[in-house]
């Protein structure tokens, strides 16, 4: 079917915008990633795989990311699941919408300012001092992987809660009743009905959090104090400090490839879980 003139006209601005500000820039990244670094930084056209061969030079950043991003995702999941369950099944329906909004909304506010709050809490004059006054010594919390993990959970918890909530809310209550009528103890209903039916939400939430964590820069920067280094921090360094654009482009391209692989795996898993439906919800 050929789209009508009106459809074409309506789509034109959005298409132009996506082409100029998404497709073109991403293609430039790919082209640059095969280039060479200029003497004063920047880009010299070339066709070399050297940048990709050098990825090992930033192995520490990849390693940190590949350890802390899954760890952060799992921590978010463990904390988010019971809350989503509470909101979807146990909470008073009159308050449900408000409670849900109160979980989602922080995600859309400034992560910069919310991470800043944790500098005050975890910094020398915050929790460590309180712990010190209790006579338990003065642990150093800020600028540690622990602080980064706290920031990650704080920042991304809402994104995990919402999809799990959506999955649990759709759950047919009659299944729970049927299970208990047939004599299953509550734990068995939980393991065999509730948990499996929430897996689609778990997959969506985990994928969203994992992808965003892969590109995270602010939380390790602010709460890790440059000691806990993510791929995102390596990218900022490569583009804004050492100006090694081709190598930076290769790191960015690798990041996007890892992300695309994750999404593809996710979509495959989702197909199996939900029989072809695809409910990616960001809001």
């Amino acid at each position: 079917m050929r789209p009508s003139l009106r459809t074409t006209l309506f789509l034109a601005p959005a298409t132009a915008w996506l082409l100029c500000m998404l497709v073109l820039p991403l293609m430039v990244v790919i082209v640059f990633s095969f280039g060479e670094r200029g003497a004063a930084g920047g880009y010299v056209p070339a066709l070399t795989f050297e940048n990709y061969g050098n990825l090992g030079a930033r192995w520490a950043a990849f390693k940190n990311t590949l350890v802390l991003a899954p760890l952060g995702t799992v921590t978010c999941l463990v904390i988010a699941w019971p809350l989503a369950y509470f909101l979807a099944i146990k909470a008073d329906p009159r308050w449900r919408t408000l409670l849900l909004i109160l979980v989602i909304v922080p995600f859309w506010t400034s992560i910069l300012i919310r991470s800043y709050a944790w500098i005050q809490i975890l910094g020398g004059n915050g929790l460590p001092r309180i712990i010190g006054e209790l006579g338990l010594g003065r642990p150093r919390l800020i600028n540690t992987p622990f602080a980064v993990m706290v920031g990650i959970v704080y920042g991304y918890l809402p994104l995990m809660v919402f999809p799990i909530y959506v999955a649990l809310e759709k759950l047919d209550r009659r299944l729970l009743e049927a299970s208990s009528d047939l004599g299953s103890p509550p734990w068995r209903t939980f393991l065999q009905v509730t948990l499996p039916l929430s897996l689609a939400g778990v997959a969506t939430g985990s994928m969203l959090v994992f992808i965003l964590l892969m590109g995270e820069f602010l939380i390790p920067q602010i709460l890790g104090g440059g000691k806990v280094f993510f791929v995102g921090n390596a990218l900022v360094d490569l583009f804004l400090q050492s100006r090694n654009w081709p190598f930076g482009a290769a790191v960015a391209a690798t990041l996007v490839i890892v992300m695309l692989v994750t999404v593809t795996l996710y979509l495959k898993a989702m197909k199996r879980l939900s029989g072809g439906r695809d409910d990616v919800a960001l809001m």
């Binding site: 079917m1 789509l11 601005p13 996506l18 991403l26 300012i113 005050q120 809490i121 583009f239 960015a252």
Partner: protein, 267 residues
Amino acid sequence: MRIYALAVYLFLYIPIGIIALFSFNAGRHAAQLTGFSVQWYAKALENPFVIGALKTSFTVALVSAVLATLCGTMAAVALQGVRGRARTIYDAALYMAVMVPGIVIGIATLIALVTVFDALNPMLARLFGPGAPQLALGKGSLIAAHGMFTMALVVVIVRARLQGMDRALLEASADLGAPPMRTFLQVTLPQIAPAVLAGFLLAFTFSFDDFIIAFFVAGSETTLPIYVFSSIRRGVTPEINAIGTMVLMASLLILIAAQLILRRRAR
């Protein structure tokens, strides 16, 4: 269960409360509460750098959100008439726009624009002589980069609403002899209005709060998040708390409004 939920809510909101609490602190040091004062708000609002950054952020957020809402809504409506391969490609592009990490969008936009500008600026100079306008990163690139992402967001939100719409209404309108444009203005538009408004509010707050894309494409401009980031590097001060409190409260209010609009009318 309830206690657990309460604990999570406390975890989510206590840090915000702490920012607010220390913004009213009388003392210079962020460590000890020494009395109530609004002096840091006054200090922040008298600081020309803060005001300048606020103006930049506000302009960029407003212009990018208006353009994104306009183009995004048009695209969402038009996409209803697109099927097959074209639709798949479009959906993939929108998906990429939403899912590619902000840092990659920022970097990609930076190197693409700098490369394009480097190619175009000598041409402009040759065409218009020494006083020729020079392309550079700034408000324009901020608006373009923020708007690209938020436009995709608007498409997703408005499209969800369109899909939930009763098609019988459109058919009724057409059967009663209304031309397509009239059906659109009198039937479709009022139906999707809440989603459009919510999309606009989200687009605005995203742009206003965004740090990572702006960090790369702002050029010599300073947005409020960039100002806050560079201040944090210099240390914790009650002035940042005052700015943070204002920004958080403003975005919380806007976002709760957006969510209420989206949810109430969706019933």
